[in-house]
Assembly symmetry: C2
Homo-oligomer: 329 residues x 2
């Protein structure tokens, strides 16, 4: 009751296992009758190839590694979902790794990726990733690598990103168009490339509308509901209140909405709210919501295609950066 191998088939049919191997691949040098015989017996016995053996020989697996901070986030789970679909359509399977915003974990993951002989990696960096040596190490193992969303200028790899600056500029303009004057931007860790870009865009937007409101950037400690609640609490107890809030994450936005609802100041639902993600829940929950939508499908597809290019063409892998525009709905 063991796993059946080509050697088993060979023994049973009284031929050599190499013949079985060729027959199963439909090699033209094998007699049609033999092929037929082998094929039939193989499917009768439910033969399944052992890919481990295959990879050991050819030293390239059909496993794609996807590294995200945490998969329990709409953006990342959607991304992984799409990559997984595309991968399985191309005969690959996807291994998911969660860095949990920890460089230490990230290093463990790259180690694991090397050990598993993984065919290629699509990754979004942690917030604290400044040292990128563990990713560069993948080069010496010739493991193709594509970065998405959270990139690092230090890591010269193909990348798929959002035009974060434009996204924030446009959301400022849209809020202005809706009549809001005093927009605050609630940002994450400012050291990350992505957030720097968003801040740039925010300031650019303010400039374009000649905003009188001193630019107001608040750094939240994290991206939890509580963080959103706290930052709203803080901002609305200042002298010069904002009339619109732009969030890096819809989770923060929910926290702020919660504050607005329970605060007796009747600010809700007049305050403008904009956030990355949260469609369509946020729009349903409050009338003045704008959702910044990343084209997740396109970005996932682009990442996968870039990776595939690198896998098929291991030598000639030029570095490309693909930038996508957000939609604001």
């Amino acid at each position: 009751m063991k796993r059946i191998t080509i050697k088993d088939i060979a023994r049973e049919l009284g031929i050599h296992h190499s013949t079985v191997s060729r027959a199963l691949r439909g090699s033209p040098e094998i007699n049609a009758i033999t092929i037929e015989k082998v094929m039939r017996y193989a499917s009768e016995r439910g033969y399944q190839i052992n890919r481990n053996a295959l990879f050991l020989r050819g030293s390239r697996s059909n496993i794609i590694g996807v590294i995200v901070p945490n998969i329990h986030h709409s953006f990342f789970s959607n991304f992984v979902s799409i990559v997984t679909k595309l991968a399985s359509a191309s005969g690959y399977i996807v291994a998911v790794f969660q860095s949990e915003e920890s460089v230490k974990q990230e290093k463990e993951i790259t180690k694991s990726i090397i050990q598993q002989n993984i065919a290629g990696v699509i990754s979004s960096l942690t917030m604290e990733t400044t040292d990128v040596s563990h990713f560069q190490q993948l080069d010496s193992y010739k493991i193709p690598f594509v970065c998405f969303d959270r990139i690092s200028p230090l890591l010269s790899k193909s990348a798929v990103i959002l035009d974060n600056a434009s996204a924030l500029k446009n959301v400022v303009l849209k809020l202005h168009g809706k009549g809001f004057k005093k927009m605050a931007y609630l940002s994450g860790v400012p050291s990350i490339h992505l957030f720097k870009e968003r801040q740039k865009g925010y300031l650019l937007g303010l400039k374009e509308i000649n905003s009188q409101y001193e630019n107001c950037i608040a750094i939240t400690e994290g991206f939890s509901i509580e963080n959103g609640f706290e930052v709203a609490l803080k901002l609305f107890n200042r002298k010069n209140r904002p009339d619109a809030l732009i969030f890096d994450s819809h989770v923060l936005a929910w926290g702020a909405l919660n504050y607005l609802k329970i605060s007796k100041k009747k600010l809700f639902p007049k305050i403008g709210i904009a956030s990355f993600g949260g469609y369509p829940w946020l729009s349903l929950a409050t009338p003045n919501a704008l959702v910044i939508q990343q084209p997740e499908e396109k970005m996932a597809e682009a990442s996968f295609n870039l990776l595939m290019e690198n896998i098929k063409n291991p030598d000639n892998c030029e570095i490309k950066t693909l930038m996508f525009q957000a939609e604001i709905a």
Copy 2:
């Protein structure tokens, strides 16, 4: 510039590769000096073991397969996230598979799982899974298997499920406690074990409160926002309207909320809404929302632990079914 192997180390150090192998594992039969020498050289050169070779020898990988309908769903992504964390803490990695509610895909997945020599599987079934032979096939390859959430009575495997009947009964009682009288249950495909249980619970609840309202079960076509919108549209244009809706999925609930908001009948926000999942967004969006929360962490942990038991103890794997209670918040 190739991958370094134990043979490379052996050649370089002038010893046999079997000695290197033993040294790297710190075998007591190897001279301490040799171990030291090998260890140092290995870490200098950044040696990483090739797990493919390892698995080929021992024929058991460190890959756990997780099958879900689609990972872009809060419940499943949270589940996968937790399993992945636990797995990586135990030296395993997780491969994600999406059945997309298709038995055909499910069969492809089991095939892939066999080919990859995967160490164990945690799976939730598709809606249309009645034939379970592809899962039973895993037995002949001795691949441990744990079912969660969506199970089948035909598949006698260890399972981790929610007490769906009690959950629905309790939510009926809670809505009744809040003063609602006419509760409708918007259900998915009734052939699935899980939904049958929920219907049972719903009817049990109605009986317990002596509801006068004819039991009202509407079957939605799917689980999209649009489906939720449509079902609300239909129900609220009947003569005897419900005053509370219980949904199998928060996505449906959002669609219904959307209808309530745009319909001029000022039904919103008086209608009671209950749904599986959606915490805390739903509660923030409408005052009369109840969220049925599955203990996802506990369920994921239980599934993982059951699988580990089966992996460690391949022979003595008794079938257990663990049932968890939902919380209603």
